[in-house]
């Protein structure tokens, strides 16, 4: 390794560290504001002489955190298992069983891959109104499952298409039918793809904002992101409480991310590569 490379690497390291610092600064700035005494005007980044950790308790009550967590959890529970299951089945059908005319169904799904949610949100509003589901969590759950299908099926199909067909033939010799074949042979093999998909759908659901604010008025029936939007609307002028509340609302995501960080990063990287 010659000298040029070494100095380049050093420059690269410095850039990388700078990037890390810039990424963290907004969070630190929020933390420093959140710890100021209520009613004061905080400045950008200054460690308070007397940090007011109690602000977080105030924000917990003001944001109604308990209800928000429950609501987001319910929505995730409604979207992710069903979404992953039917996408895996469809991926199996299109990628492994190779149903006749499957490429038509797949093409139809691909249409939705780059679809901005804004393009369908207005009719969805009227559709949900006619179904009597406005202001219920179903108004977020049902459309999200549909909206995730293009990516989710694409993702699972990409897995199943690479599974050797001999595997199924061997299982069929043993006398298993397609249903058993799916659960006993293919689902266990698909576990990594399913795990990544689960993580991505969880994240996208938890962070969904547009559908939440359009279809549900009551902040305690929304996703975390939707609730955060309402919290900002309500406490936007009280910067100290706003920062404390925002950090609090972020905490569950951050904890889940830090625990599963390896899987998350893998899923996000693969997700954008295939998406």
């Amino acid at each position: 390794m010659n000298l040029t490379t070494r100095s380049e690497r050093l420059t690269g390291r410095i850039f990388l560290i700078a990037l890390v610092v810039v990424t963290l600064l907004p969070f630190l700035s929020m933390l420093s504001a959140a710890l100021q005494p209520r009613g004061t005007v905080p400045t950008g980044l200054a460690w308070p002489s007397d940090p007011q950790w109690g602000n977080f308790a105030d924000a917990f009550t003001a944001a109604n955190m308990g209800a928000l967590l429950k609501s987001s959890a319910l929505i995730v529970a409604g979207v992710v298992p069903v979404g992953v299951l039917i996408a895996t089945m469809a991926g199996f059908g299109l990628g492994h069983l190779r149903v006749p005319g499957g490429h038509l169904a797949f093409g139809l799904l691909l249409l939705g891959l780059t679809l901005p949610f804004e393009a369908v949100v207005t009719p969805l509003y009227y559709q949900m109104r006619d179904l009597g589901l406005l202001n219920t969590r179903w108004a977020i759950i049902l459309p999200l499952i549909g909206l995730y299908m293009p990516f989710a099926v694409f993702w699972m199909r990409a897995h199943f298409i690479n599974v050797p067909r001999e595997l199924s033939e061997a299982a069929r010799v043993d006398g298993s039918n397609t249903w058993q074949l799916f659960w006993r042979v293919h689902v266990p093999l698909a576990r990594p793809a399913v795990a990544s998909l689960t993580i991505l759908l969880f994240l996208w659901t938890w962070n969904q904002f547009l559908l939440a604010i359009v279809l549900v008025d009551d902040a305690t029936k929304r996703t975390m992101a939707g609730a955060l939007g309402a919290f900002q609307g309500q406490w936007g002028t009280d910067l100290v409480l706003l920062c404390a509340g925002s950090l609090l609302i972020l905490t569950p995501t951050l904890i889940v991310f830090l625990i599963f960080q390896r899987q998350f990063i893998k899923a996000l990287l693969q997700g954008s590569v295939k998406g």
Binding site: L16, G93, L115, A152, V173, T178, Q180, T253, F257, S272
Partner: protein
């Protein structure tokens, strides 16, 4: 292969969750040709639940959006046929054109800057160690991807505000004259919103590009150095062509995020001051739900959808062509 396959989950009441009970007994007497056909067709039952959800909650609304776009409708009363008038408005109204151009300006910040900076860092670093330091760097750089965009909007509204971190830093180096409410200033609001997008996208692009970098065969670089190539020529001769696919991915993801942006703008500026930072997504929301111009909102939605395709498809073709 025996013939024990006549049994995809058929005939269950709700197509979405076929239970075990509905697997029919294998139909033994049927020989290859026959079962082959039934099995392949019954395979559609596996695809059906996903297609139904997609059809009801995506395709149906999509067709309705196109239908609405041809009408003059306030969302309550009777709709009046308007032909292509709404599209004419989208392409001639000065405000709407500005709103669309705002989205394109955001592409500079959401896409070009992160990709260029990411390329710079990636070509200097080449690879991140797999040790704890590398893990730490990756984790931090992915934080903006994990938190809701709403949170990024709130955090940056504070950082860019009058008393925020940016102005504090400027004052510290004696640039008091430059300080302002960045998101409220007529001239700086849109770039300020763009900077939030840069912050969100930069980490993802950098990591994607570094990952791509680490797959390049080091001997290519050795060969380039032996040929006397400097870092710049090396970049254009080796790095750039090898990272074609990764660059394509970064551009696709970030351009869609820029054109269809909503969350960040809604939270940080609500489109103001004036319409300086209004983007199509926000305008669709406002037209449909506050101004009650559902037809116009839908026409804008169709145009937005088309713009995304027009921008993304050529990138896909260019960068995936070889593979």
């Amino acid at each position: 292969m025996t013939s024990a396959l006549g049994s995809a989950p058929a005939g269950s009441g709700t197509a979405s969750r076929p239970g075990r009970g509905d697997t029919r007994a294998p139909v033994r007497p049927h020989r290859k040709k026959r079962w082959g056909r039934t099995v392949r067709w019954s395979g559609w039952l596996w695809v059906l639940p996903a297609l139904i959800m997609y059809g009801v909650f995506v395709l149906r609304p999509l067709v309705l959006t196109m239908q609405y776009s041809l009408y003059d409708w306030n969302g309550i009363g009777a709709a009046r046929w308007a032909g292509l008038d709404n599209y004419l408005t989208v392409f001639t109204d000065r405000d709407l054109l500005k709103i669309i151009s705002n989205a394109f300006i955001l592409i500079i910040f959401f896409s070009f800057i992160p990709v260029l900076l990411g390329l710079l860092v990636a070509s200097l670093v080449r690879r991140i160690t797999t040790g704890p330091a590398g893990t730490m760097v990756r984790t931090v750089l992915f934080l903006p991807q994990v938190i809701p965009l709403v949170a990024a909007g709130i955090a940056w509204s504070w950082v860019l505000s009058t008393n925020g971190l940016v102005n504090q830093a400027l004052r510290a180096v004696g640039l008091d004259g430059v300080t302002r409410a960045w998101l409220g200033d007529f001239d700086t609001a849109l770039p300020a919103v763009g900077v939030i997008g840069t912050w969100v996208m930069l980490g993802l692009c950098t990591i994607l590009l570094i990952t791509g970098m680490s797959k390049i065969d080091p001997s290519l670089y050795e060969a380039a150095r032996i040929d006397g190539a400097g870092p710049v020529r090396e970049f254009f001769a080796v790095t750039l062509p090898s990272l074609r696919q990764e660059i394509g991915i970064c551009l696709t993801v970030t351009i869609i995020a820029a054109l269809a942006s909503f969350d960040i703008v809604y939270i940080s500026t609500s489109g103001g001051p004036g319409i300086q930072t209004t983007v199509p997504g926000l305008e669709i929301y406002r037209l449909a739900f506050s101004q009650r111009q559902v037809g116009l909102a839908s026409a804008l939605a169709v145009v937005l959808m088309a713009l995304v395709l027009v921008c993304v498809l050529p990138i896909q073709r260019l960068t995936r062509g070889e593979k």
